[in-house]
């Protein structure tokens, strides 16, 4: 008796052990789900987005050609996008296929339509596995009103309501301020560089320096005349020594050169109206330096 019991227990233990050692026989496709939006309330031009989720075991790969090609599916349905993403899961793979359809059908009354069915194919070691994606039914509404109002036998039509515009005033102001800033900077630079034909006063000393560049101290009268001309043009009338105070009042930026300018007028008076008809190399250098300094002020650089 004891022997028989022992044998039964041993049999059941062996049977249990065999059961635990046997391989897991997993289905190739463990999950299929078609996620679709509401099946009603569509009109011509609307888009319908489908999400198809397929979870498979590891070795199963989707055959790309089984994914519907974008483009016209029939005379009124267009597949705009078909995007496949693959994710690894604990048990295998998850395929997420996102399809976007657009409807080009204008029914005269509410009508039921369907997206076409298709089949997704998977393969593993040369074996194909199919997963059918069923048709999806939805209703399409006409664009005109339900209670058709007719005037003189025509369908009452009206334009769409104007959409609310996005407030772009802040962007416009920003653009305007930027443009004004750029324009003002450009004008100021052009003014400083004397590019405006009506602002010739900004080029007086530039011209004088240019005229003086080739002169030697034997051509002192030309050098003095060039500087006088530039000063007169800056002052808008002939400037004499006794008018320097008024000149500094009207052109205060030149006051910093008062010492040099006073020296220039005294030197010029002696040369033109007295009996001193020469100048030293140092004095001629001073004249050129004065012209260059005045030019810097003219350009607003000092």
């Amino acid at each position: 008796m004891m022997d028989l019991s022992f044998r039964l227990i041993r049999f059941w233990l062996i049977l249990l052990a065999m059961t635990g050692c046997s391989p897991n026989l997993q289905e190739p496709i463990t999950r299929f789900e078609l996620q679709a939006p509401k099946p009603y309330g569509y009109v011509i031009g609307d888009e319908i987005r489908h999400r198809i989720v397929v979870e498979t075991r590891h070795q199963l790969d989707i055959i790309q050609d089984s994914i519907p090609a974008t483009g016209d599916q029939n005379r009124w349905l267009n597949l705009k996008t078909a995007k496949l993403t693959t994710q690894a899961t604990d048990d295998g793979k998850r395929y997420l296929l996102e399809l976007t359809y657009q409807i080009f059908y204008s029914p005269l009354e509410v009508k039921m339509l369907k997206t076409p069915a298709f089949t997704l194919y998977f393969q593993q070691n040369g074996n194909k596995i199919e997963q059918a994606v069923p048709e999806w039914y939805f209703t399409l509404s006409p664009l005109h009103e339900l209670a058709i109002r007719k005037e003189e036998g025509k369908i009452y039509l009206r334009p769409d309501a104007q959409p609310d515009l996005i407030d772009t005033s802040s962007y416009k102001n920003g653009v305007a301020i930027t443009l004004v800033t750029f324009a003002a900077s450009g004008f100021y630079l052009a003014y400083c560089f004397g590019l405006f034909p009506w602002a010739k006063q900004r080029k007086h000393f530039k011209t004088a320096c240019k005229n003086m560049s080739g002169l030697t101290r034997q051509q002192l009268d030309q050098a003095l005349t060039a500087i006088h001309q530039a000063i007169n043009d800056t002052y808008s009338k002939p400037l004499f020594k006794h008018g320097l105070a008024d000149f500094y009042a009207k052109q205060p930026e030149f006051k910093q050169l008062a010492g040099q300018i006073d020296w220039f007028f005294a030197f010029s008076d002696r040369y033109f109206f007295s009996d001193r008809k020469y100048c030293t190399e140092e004095e001629f250098f001073q004249l050129k330096a004065l012209c260059i300094d005045c030019r810097k002020i003219e350009r607003g650089g000092v």
Binding site: Q229, P238, F272, S274, D275
Partner: protein
């Protein structure tokens, strides 16, 4: 020979320096006597050493007579004054007749001849009230510094005429003709000072209430009037004008005839139709002579543009004759024109 020239040059320089010191001393003393008229006094000193006559224009009581008496006191020589009236005749300037205590008719020299050749300052008050015949006699005295009377030629070598024209009253007056005005070196308008401090002094300082005592501040005979003609000539020879200055003066002269050619434009004025006559050669000669005196007073022997500019308005203003259509606006136009000329012509 060289030493002689050097000595002579030094002598002239010293002479000019001494005279300049005397002139500036006189100017200073007159300025302390008649306050607030410094630019006018500088013009008068300039005129004295230019040997030119002055036409003053101003309201009554602004100090014209005091000024001239102070100046005459400093100049030395004799001072004579006459009032212009509508019944004044040329003979009234030369002689006057009266009966002496024995009822014997007598003829005595008039204002022009009383002091003979020692007359240095002759003040003709309200000249525009006198008749043109009187103007005519005065013009000869001014131009030739001589006068004929009693079949005799009387020389007035040091005389300097200061005439006054009242600008307030125009009735029963005889406007000076252009030729008469051209004989005056300068025409100066006198306005009372506008400085409140000076006006306060004139009102409340007793020093300015007694004119006779006031002018005693001026040293009598500070300037030897009988040497003025010589020193004036010396100044003209000593102060030189460079070619650049001559060019500038010529441009000024031309601008007084054709201002539009020098870019001078005045508002509401058709410039080519503006002037009836520009400045005469005598006017330009006066300008240069007065400018040289001004340079000498500035202690220079070279004529600068600023010298011409300083005396240009007082010498030129009464020598620019406007066309009749603009004559009624002369008080507005002439200062603008003179200012426009000075502001438009550069040197060099």
């Amino acid at each position: 020979m060289r030493r002689s020239f050097f000595t002579k040059t030094m002598t002239v320089e010293h002479q000019l320096a001494d005279w300049r010191n005397q002139a500036l001393t006189l100017e200073n003393q007159v300025n302390q006597t008649v306050i607030g008229l410094n630019p006018l006094v500088r013009h008068l000193i300039t005129a004295v050493f230019t040997r030119g006559h002055i036409l003053l224009e101003g309201n009554v009581g602004v100090g014209k007579t005091t000024l001239l008496r102070a100046l005459a006191r400093g100049l030395g020589g004799q001072y004579q004054r006459i009032e212009g009236t509508i019944d004044l005749m040329p003979s009234d300037l030369i002689y006057y007749t009266y009966l002496d205590r024995n009822a014997k008719p007598c003829v005595d020299p008039g204002p022009l001849l009383t002091h003979g050749d020692q007359l240095s300052t002759f003040f003709f008050n309200e000249i525009n009230r006198a008749r043109p015949q009187v103007h005519s006699l005065l013009l000869r005295v001014m131009a030739e510094r001589s006068v004929s009377a009693f079949n005799t030629e009387f020389q007035l070598p040091y005389v300097q005429v200061f005439a006054d024209r009242n600008r307030v009253e125009r009735e029963e007056t005889f406007e000076l003709p252009a030729a008469a005005r051209d004989r005056f070196l300068m025409e100066i308008k006198i306005d009372p000072p506008n400085d409140d401090v000076l006006l306060d002094q004139l009102m409340f300082d007793p020093r300015y209430h007694d004119v006779d005592k006031l002018i005693e501040n001026v040293e009598p005979g500070l300037i030897a009037h009988y040497q003025l003609n010589d020193i004036a000539q010396l100044i003209q020879q000593a102060v030189i004008a460079s070619p650049a200055l001559r060019k500038y003066a010529l441009a000024l002269w031309k601008a007084t005839s054709n201002p539009q050619q020098f870019g001078i434009n005045l508002a509401d004025v058709d410039m080519p139709q503006l002037l009836h006559a520009g400045v005469s050669p005598r006017g330009m000669s006066y300008l240069i002579r007065a400018a040289k005196v001004r340079a000498w007073l500035q202690n220079r022997t070279a004529l600068f543009p600023e010298d011409l500019q300083a005396v240009f308005p007082v010498i030129m203003m009464h020598r620019l004759f406007l066309n009749p259509s603009y004559a009624y606006r002369k008080d507005e136009i002439l200062p603008q024109l003179v200012s426009g000329i000075l502001n438009q012509i550069a040197a060099p």
